[in-house]
């Protein structure tokens, strides 16, 4: 009581193109707003009344200047007497319509009876409008704290990676002819290592025994003419 209360209609999804929504808030204490396109309204209750006020929100919708079915939201607002401390200047209440299937007409000029966009408003139990303010979100960490947090997370990840590598590092030797030639003086001009075996081989195969030969006489006599001892 005596504190401005912010009322807001929360839509689950924005209205499709061509649709126009108008809102009118009735705060239950005899005051109400005009039709407006704003989804928010602020009101200050001067008396506590019976302890609560029935808040009534009308939502009128038009599609391309054609008036479509309207929707209402009713919600009771508890008003706390002024003997309680007033915590903040502005209280916040959210009225959340439930999601509604949208089926635009194939011919937008003459929408079919089923082509409706009905912002059904069903209050979320946790968002009961009241004067009790919603606690502000916790302040963001200061940059210096964030930096330390990043460093700590990085160290943890590095340690974890090192542990995994030591535990599961590949045991197999990489196959292939690898040769290392250590040079203690890297700046000195490097020359090929000496006393290395030549990487090619020449193999001489006279291949005589695998050859063919033919022994011929005149055909009339044996090769062995005479045997002397």
């Amino acid at each position: 009581m005596g504190t401005p209360v912010l009322f807001e209609v929360v839509l689950w999804q924005p209205p499709p193109p061509g649709w126009n929504l108008q809102y009118r808030f009735d705060f239950g204490d005899g005051t109400r707003t005009d039709w407006m396109s704003e989804r928010q309204a602020t009101h200050t209750y001067s008396t506590s009344g019976n302890g609560s006020y029935p808040v009534h929100v009308e939502i009128a919708s038009t599609y391309r200047d054609r008036v479509m079915p309207s929707k209402t939201i009713d919600k009771d607002v508890d008003v706390i007497p002024p003997s309680n401390p007033t915590p903040s200047a502005t209280a916040y209440a959210a009225i959340t319509p439930s999601p509604t299937p949208i089926t635009p007409s194939p011919t937008p000029i003459t929408p079919s009876p089923t082509s409706t966009y009905t912002p059904i408003a069903t209050a979320v139990p946790t968002s009961i409008p009241s004067i009790t303010p919603i606690p502000p979100p916790p302040p963001a960490l200061r940059p210096s704290k964030m930096l330390w947090l990043y460093i700590a997370v990085g160290l943890v990840i590095a340690g974890l990676a090192s542990f995994i590598y030591k535990k599961w590092k590949p045991k197999a030797v990489i196959a292939g002819p690898l040769a290392f030639y250590p040079h203690s003086d890297w700046d000195a001009p490097q020359k090929p290592p000496e006393n290395l075996s030549i990487k090619y081989g020449l193999y001489f195969h006279p291949n005589v025994s695998a050859g063919q030969d033919r022994l011929e006489t005149d055909g009339a006599s044996s090769i062995l003419r005479r045997k002397k001892q």
């Binding site: 990487k199 090619y200 001489f204 291949n207 005589v208 022994l215 062995l224």
Partner: protein, 189 residues
């Protein structure tokens, strides 16, 4: 084997790598072709001077080729078998005029680290030797010496379709040529 002139390398007059004289046209053509072919090889070290080493492939003694062929003749096999039974007895075999044709394919294999298949440089050698008045001394089942005789030599070495050496020599005296070393090195086929 003390008669070095009966080495095929000598008989075919392979150029001496140390010689200052220019090689023959055929030899130069062979060198050129070989150079082109081995250029396709990725040499891991300095390219060897192959042409200077080709001659090593023909360090084959002509009498060794002849002995190898003689030992395949049935009559000589029987004589050698008889000599084996009387190892102390020296037998001289007088051979009729005959001709021995040899064909074989020596090759140089180049194996390079990292290449799965060796490169093969293969030659074709054809030799025809016409022998006259040959007397073979045999002892202990082995032809130990060519005591007398002569031959006409005709040979050709080809690399692919390129004839790199062709020789026709004769008559060549085969007097007192020892043949023991070869036979001890390789058993009778």
């Amino acid at each position: 084997m003390n008669n070095s002139s009966l080495n095929l390398r000598t008989l075919f007059s392979f150029p001496d790598p140390a010689a200052t004289a220019a090689p023959s046209n055929k030899w130069q053509e062979f060198q050129s072709r070989l150079g082109r072919e081995i250029k396709t090889i990725k040499w891991p070290a300095a390219m060897p001077d192959l042409t200077s080493k080709i001659g090593e492939l023909f360090n084959v003694e002509l009498p060794d080729l002849l002995v190898s062929s003689w030992k395949k003749a049935r009559e000589l096999q029987e004589a050698l078998e008889a000599s084996r039974k009387s190892p102390d007895e020296i037998i001289v075999l007088d051979l009729a005029e005959h001709e021995i044709a040899n064909e074989y394919h020596p090759y140089i294999e180049i194996r390079i680290a990292g290449l799965p298949l060796p490169k093969k440089i293969e030659f074709e050698v054809r030799i025809v030797t016409a022998l006259k008045g040959i007397n073979l001394k045999i002892q202990g089942g082995t032809i130990t010496e060519i005591q007398a005789g002569s031959c006409d030599f005709e040979g050709k070495i080809k690399y692919g379709d390129l004839t790199i050496a062709e020789k026709k020599l004769g008559p060549i005296e085969l007097l007192g040529v020892s043949t023991i070393a070869k036979q001890e090195a390789s058993p009778t086929k």
